[in-house]
C-alpha cells in the first residue's frame, strides 16, 4: 500500500514539474519618466513570450513573466530585483531608466542571476561594474552619435549649428555631439539651448539663422521643446537640413509635429524594409487587433527571444549554464540594419553591433526610408 502511495505521489509530483513554468522577471517603469519607452518594450516582451509559449515554450515549459514596476527609481529598483530573484526568476529583463538598471546589477551580481537590458542606451552600464551576469543589447548612445556623424561626413558638412534642451540627457547628448563633430573637423558655429517649459524657440533659431550653418544637429530629448524648435524652423522658412538624435525616431512625433517633419533625418535602430521587421509588424498587428508596433516594441520582442534562445541552448534552467549560453549567443532579430546580428564576442557584454544603426528620413509626416547605414 505504501509503495502504491509513493508511486502516486511521485506521479503527481512529476506532472506538477512538467507543468512548472520558467519564470522570467521584468522590471519596468509604469509611472516614471521612462514610461513612454518602457510601455511599448513591455508590450513587445509580452507578445514575444506569447508567441514562444504558443509554439510549446522552452524546454517543454511555458515562459511566465513576473512583472515589477520600479517607477524608474534607482532607490527601489534593487529591491524589485531581489523580489524577483526570491520568486525564482532565472533571468531578469530590465526595461526601466539606465540608473535604475545599474542599481539592479548589485543584486544580480550577488545572486548570480542573468540580467539583460534590451533597450537602455547608457554607455556606462557595462563599465561601472564587472558583472558577468549582465548584458546590454540596446544601441549605445555613442553608437547613435557616431552613426549620425558618419552620415554628416558623407554630406561633407563644414560648419553646423547644435541645439538641445536643458534636460540632463539632452545636455549629455549635446556634449557628445559637439565632441564628435569637432573630432571630425566639422565646426560648431553656434550652440543653443531651449529650456524646458518655454513658449517659443524663435530667439534660439534666429541666432542659428544668423550663423548661417550648413546643417543643424538636434540633440534634445524633450518632445514639446523639440516641436517648438521645428515650428520656429518652419515658420522662419529655414532651409538648412536638420539631423536629429534617436529621440525623433519616437513615433509620437508623427502626430504631435504634424506638418513639420518632412526631410528631417534621424538615427534609428529599425529598418522597416527588413524582412524580419515586416513579419514582426504583420504578426503583432494580427495578434493585437490591428495595432501596429513600432521600433521600441522591437527591443522587447528581441529581448525575450534572446533570453528564450539562451535557455534553450543551455538545455536547463541552471543560471550558470544560462549565463554561459548567453555569452556565446549570436542572434538576428528585428532591430538593427539588414543582416545585423547581436553577439558578445571576446567577453563583451554589449550586444548591439556598432555598425547596426541606420539613419532614416521623414517623408511627409511618416518615418521613411533608410538613407545611411553604420559608421563607415
Amino acid at each position: 500500500m505504501r509503495k502504491v502511495l509513493a508511486a502516486l505521489l511521485a506521479l503527481a509530483a512529476s506532472s506538477v514539474f512538467a507543468q512548472e513554468t520558467i519564470k522570467i522577471g521584468v522590471i519596468t517603469d509604469k509611472v516614471g519618466p521612462a514610461k513612454p519607452y518602457s510601455e511599448p518594450t513591455l508590450e513587445g516582451i509580452q507578445f514575444g513570450a506569447g508567441e514562444i509559449n504558443a509554439k510549446g515554450g522552452v524546454l517543454g515549459r511555458k515562459l511566465e513573466l513576473l512583472i515589477e514596476d520600479d517607477q524608474g527609481r534607482p532607490d527601489i529598483s534593487a529591491t524589485m530585483a531581489r523580489k524577483l530573484v526570491d520568486a525564482g526568476a532565472v533571468f531578469i529583463l530590465s526595461i526601466t531608466l539606465t540608473p535604475a538598471t545599474q542599481q539592479q546589477q548589485n543584486v544580480t551580481l550577488e545572486a548570480k542571476t542573468p540580467q539583460m537590458t534590451p533597450m537602455n542606451s547608457g554607455d556606462t552600464l557595462t563599465t561601472q561594474l564587472a558583472n558577468p551576469y549582465f548584458w546590454q543589447t540596446g544601441p549605445l548612445g555613442s553608437v547613435q552619435i557616431a552613426t549620425l556623424l558618419s552620415h554628416a561626413r558623407a554630406k561633407q558638412l563644414k560648419k553646423v549649428a547644435l541645439i538641445s534642451d536643458n534636460s540632463d540627457l539632452g545636455q549629455l547628448l549635446a556634449k557628445f555631439f559637439r565632441a564628435g563633430l569637432e573630432k571630425s573637423g566639422i565646426q560648431v558655429v553656434t550652440e543653443e539651448v531651449v529650456p524646458r517649459g518655454v513658449t517659443s524657440a524663435e530667439p534660439q533659431m534666429q541666432k542659428i539663422r544668423a550663423a548661417n550653418p550648413d546643417a543643424m544637429f538636434m540633440a534634445g530629448v524633450l518632445t514639446p521643446e523639440n516641436v517648438l524648435i521645428l515650428r520656429a524652423y518652419r515658420q522662419m522658412g529655414l532651409k538648412f537640413p536638420i539631423h536629429s538624435s534617436y529621440n525623433l525616431s519616437v513615433p509620437q512625433y508623427m502626430s504631435v509635429a504634424k506638418g513639420l517633419l518632412n526631410g528631417i533625418t534621424f538615427v534609428d535602430a529599425y529598418d522597416p524594409d527588413k524582412a524580419e521587421v515586416r513579419k514582426f509588424e504583420a504578426d503583432y498587428a494580427k495578434a493585437n487587433g490591428g495595432k501596429t508596433p513600432y521600433n521600441i516594441h522591437g527591443y522587447g520582442y528581441d529581448g525575450i527571444r534572446m533570453v528564450a534562445e539562451a535557455i534553450r541552448r543551455a538545455g536547463s534552467t541552471d543560471k550558470e549554464k544560462i549565463r554561459a549560453a548567453m555569452q556565446q549567443l549570436e542572434f538576428s532579430g528585428v532591430m538593427g540594419a539588414k543582416g545585423m546580428k547581436y553577439g558578445f564576442p571576446d567577453g563583451k557584454r554589449t550586444g548591439f553591433d556598432p555598425n547596426g544603426m541606420v539613419v532614416r528620413v521623414y517623408e511627409g509626416d511618416k518615418q521613411g526610408r533608410v538613407v545611411h547605414v553604420g559608421q563607415k
Binding site: V198, T199, P203, Q204, L228, R231, A257
Partner: protein
Amino acid sequence: MRDFLELSISAAASGCIYGLIALAYLLMIRPTGIINFAVGEWAMVGAFGGFLLLGRIELPYPVGMAAVLGIMLLVGWATERIAVRPLVERGAPLLAPILALLGMLVVFRESISLGFGPDPHQVPEPFGFEHQKTYMIVATLIVFAGVWLFFERTTTGKAFEAVSLNRKAAALMGINLPQVTAFSFAGGAGIAGLAGLLVAPNISAHYLMGVPLAIQGFTALVIGGVGRVEGALLGGLLLAFAEQLTVRYAPLPAGYAQGVPLLLLMLFLLVRPTGLLRARA
C-alpha cells in the same frame, strides 16, 4: 531689424500667455488673498480639453472653445468647493487653502497623466500655423478688456473690488463673500484654461506643462503688481520680452540666458515689491 520685429511678435504672444496666467492668479488673490499655484495645472486641463474636443472629436473651434471654457468654470468652482471653502468655513489660516491647492495641483497632474498617458498631444489652431501668434494676442486683449470692463463698469465687479479692499466691511454691506470667492475661482480657472488652450498648439498638451506656466505667470504678476488688471498684462509682456531679447542679443553662453528673468524678478521684489502698477486708492 527683421529679427527684432519677428521677435517682438513672438515675445508679445508669449507675454500674453504669461499675462493671462497672472490675471488668473490676480482674480483669486484680490478678493481672497489666496495664491493658487494650481493655475498652471488648470491651463494644462484647458489644453487637454482642446486636444479632446478640437483634436479628437473635431468640434468646430468656437464650439470647442466655449465647451472648454464652460468645463473650466466648473473645474474652478469645484476646486473652491473641495479645497478652499471647507477650510475657510472652519476658520483655518490662509496658508491652509494654499497648501490644499498645492495638493490639488498634484491631483490634476496625475489624473491627466493617468488618463492621457505621458506623451504630448497636438492641439489644433483655429486659423492655421502662421496666424496663431496674432490670434493669441487678439484673444488675450479681448479677455483683458472684458475683465477690465467687468471691474470698472458692473456692480458685481465693484463688489469684487470692495471685498479686496475690506472683507469685513464688504460683508457688512451685504456682499455675499462665499459667492465672490466661488466666482473668483471659477473665473480664474476659466482664464487659465483659456491660456492653456491658446498656448497648446505651440507647446503641445502634456502633463508636465503646468508648473513652468505657473512660475512664468507668477513672475509676471510680481512684476506687474496685484493691484490692477492691466498690471498682469504689462508684467507678462515685460517678462517675455526680457526672456527672448536676452536669449537673442545678450552675449551670454547658451543656457545662461534663462537665469535673466529670475534676476529680474528678484530685482523687482527688492526695488518695487508692490509691482509696477499700484492699486488705485
